[in-house]
Symmetry: C2
Subunit: 347 residues, 2 copies
DNA sequence: TCGCTAATTGGAACCGGTTCCATTTCGTTG
DNA sequence: CAACGAAATGGAACCGGTTCCAATTAGCGA
């Protein structure tokens, strides 16, 4: 039962509590002799300081709160892994908050900062509202956004407009003219990437002189299964698309499944491109737009750590590049694939 | 700047600090009238109690520490998701510790409990040593193991011997006689599943009257790439196996890659079975042994929560079943697959 | 030897809650 | 109407650190 306190140590070492505290905090104002005495008393009593008391007295928690939506989303997990890799070698503990439901969101974002259980906050793929940001300012807590944007907050992001452009351009370059975009709901206020990639999609279309077709843009919940249904709707169109740009790799997988169910070969009959380059995209050889997921977590954590040391007047921004990874789910329009060249998920 | 304290609230409401504290903790010994006054003072001042102070005075942290090795391992992530799903609706915060290096392990396992920053500890896929367990007892902190075993601790586990047996039996039933096992290092003291599955493997072999062949069991670091190399070694044997049992799906993926690189079709020329049933196994249609990963996290968190409420004298154990999921990477020995029946990852 | 400064050290006060004990208030009962 | 117990309340003491100020000691130059 280690209920030993600093006063026990002080008594045993024959010094004052202040001195013990100084030893614990490596204050230079302690003679080597006393330091020695205190050290051995600490060891003899197997003492370790109570962090709650320390927090209370110095007003710091030595913890960082990480708030994550849908912890089951693989790209979110990958970013979190980047964050963890940095924090686990720092002196800060990591407190994880998962927000699964929308109504949970508001509550959490409001209460977490004011509960003061972290010295800094990292939001992953979660766009805060103005009210939230006000709360952060009120609580005087540094916040960094990863894969989300707010003008008043520092952030790490990817150029999603460019990514959407690259994906669409790739399909256009392959000769496709009937290109669909399946995505999360465009009007989700907390998900700006979905709109940015859509912008890039329309840009590439416009640039190539291809008219935007409303029926080629379908929205739904995020996930493999909703994407499968969306793709079926697309394929059932009187004039179905020949290529699909999926908002995420997860959704691309759903699209591939739908194609298979409809007896279409990928990429022979239908080209599909994803976004994110999650690990499964590699296994499945899905053509995709890579964004540096892990790295975004690393940079975000680093930025927050910096900001906590030396607060910056201006919000900082780190922009990460996107890159086309050309694999096996996209092909030249109209050019039938040789059998055996068939890509993943094909039976 | 919300540095409002309970005393400010007391002053504004015209009551004593004790009363405010009572209101905060829903003590019944407060009249409705005063409760009302205090409530409105709290709202007016936008007050919220400082958790550090609360922790200090009542000696509870309202947090649970979750210790995880190799946060990049998909099966560990999946278990963690189960844990999160339970804790995020509980009143406990979740503090995440990632142990990437072996020497980090000892240090963390020793210091985390004594730092007293959590009321309970959950170890995922991490077997503690006797010394560690002693520390837990000393710190008087409840601990639950998920996917790990120690006689003195409550745990949630899977019957790995049975799983290894099922996998091997499946291959034997398909007519295979030359069956390899690729795995993590058997002598890793913190990884008992690797030995248990090995035991199941040998059991099934013995039962079928097949002699165990040392050269068919290869060990290496965990991961896709090491597994790929191991499989190449296997395939280069003068008398190579016709089937491979991989310790994990991740390793099965590596094995599939190796087969493809060697120009072998899966399952036509080589049957491969994995373990875990991670999501990628479904996409890739890998035959595997399912263990309830997510559920193990859910049960583990639930068990810990129970134990914290009402400590049990005896360590509890929850055993989860394993089940064969027959997909497309295993086939009857000697029976060539029709082309087009080729499984995932095949180009 | 004296005086002064720098280096150490002791310990009270404080951080912001909770808890327990003493006190006040009020309704009941004889 | 007095006596008494229950309910409600105030506030000191405490949890276990940190910090700052005052006090002691030591070193050094004149």
């Amino acid at each position: 039962m280690s209920k030993t306190t600093i006063r026990d140590v002080a008594k045993r070492a024959g010094v004052g509590v202040g001195t013990v505290s100084r030893v614990l905090n490596n204050s230079p104002a302690v003679s080597d002799a006393t330091r020695q005495k205190v050290q051995s008393a600490i060891e003899a009593l197997n003492f370790s300081p109570n962090p709650a008391a320390r927090r209370l007295s110095q007003g710091k928690t030595m913890a960082i709160g990480v708030i994550v939506p849908f912890f089951t989303n693989p790209s979110v997990v990958r970013r979190l892994q980047g964050v963890v890799s940095v924090l686990s070698v720092s002196k800060y503990d990591l407190i994880l908050f998962d927000i699964e439901k929308v109504n949970q969101r508001d509550m959490s974002l409001r209460t977490i900062p004011q509960r003061k259980l972290a010295d800094g906050l990292l939001l992953i793929s979660l766009t805060p509202s103005d009210i939230d940001v006000e709360q952060f300012a009120l609580a005087n807590i540094p916040v960094v956004l990863v894969d989300a944007y707010h003008p008043a907050l520092s952030r790490v992001l990817v150029n999603n407009v460019q990514g959407g452009y690259q994906a669409t351009k790739h399909l256009i370059d392959l000769g496709h003219r009937k290109i669909a975009y399946i995505s999360d709901y465009l009007d989700d206020p907390f998900n700006s990437p979905v709109r940015d990639r859509f912008t890039g999609y329309k840009q590439a279309l416009a640039e190539a002189g291809i008219a935007y077709r409303e029926e080629y843009h379908l929205q739904g919940e995020h996930g493999r299964s909703p994407a499968r249904h969306l793709t079926h709707t697309l394929l059932d169109l009187p004039d179905p698309p020949t290529a699909v740009f999926a908002y995420s790799d997860t959704q691309a997988i759903g699209a591939i499944e739908a194609a298979r169910e409809s007896g279409l070969s990928v990429p022979g009959d239908l080209s599909i491109i994803g976004f994110d380059n999650i690990e499964a995209a590699e296994y499945l050889r899905i053509t995709t737009i890579r964004q540096a997921l892990f790295e975004s977590g690393v940079k975000g954590a680093g930025l927050l750590l910096n900001l906590m040391e030396t607060p910056a007047a201006e919000p900082q921004e780190i922009l990460l590049p996107t890159k086309l990874i050309d694999r096996h789910t996209t092909a030249q329009y109209g050019k039938k694939q040789l059998s055996g060249q068939i890509a993943a998920l094909q039976t």
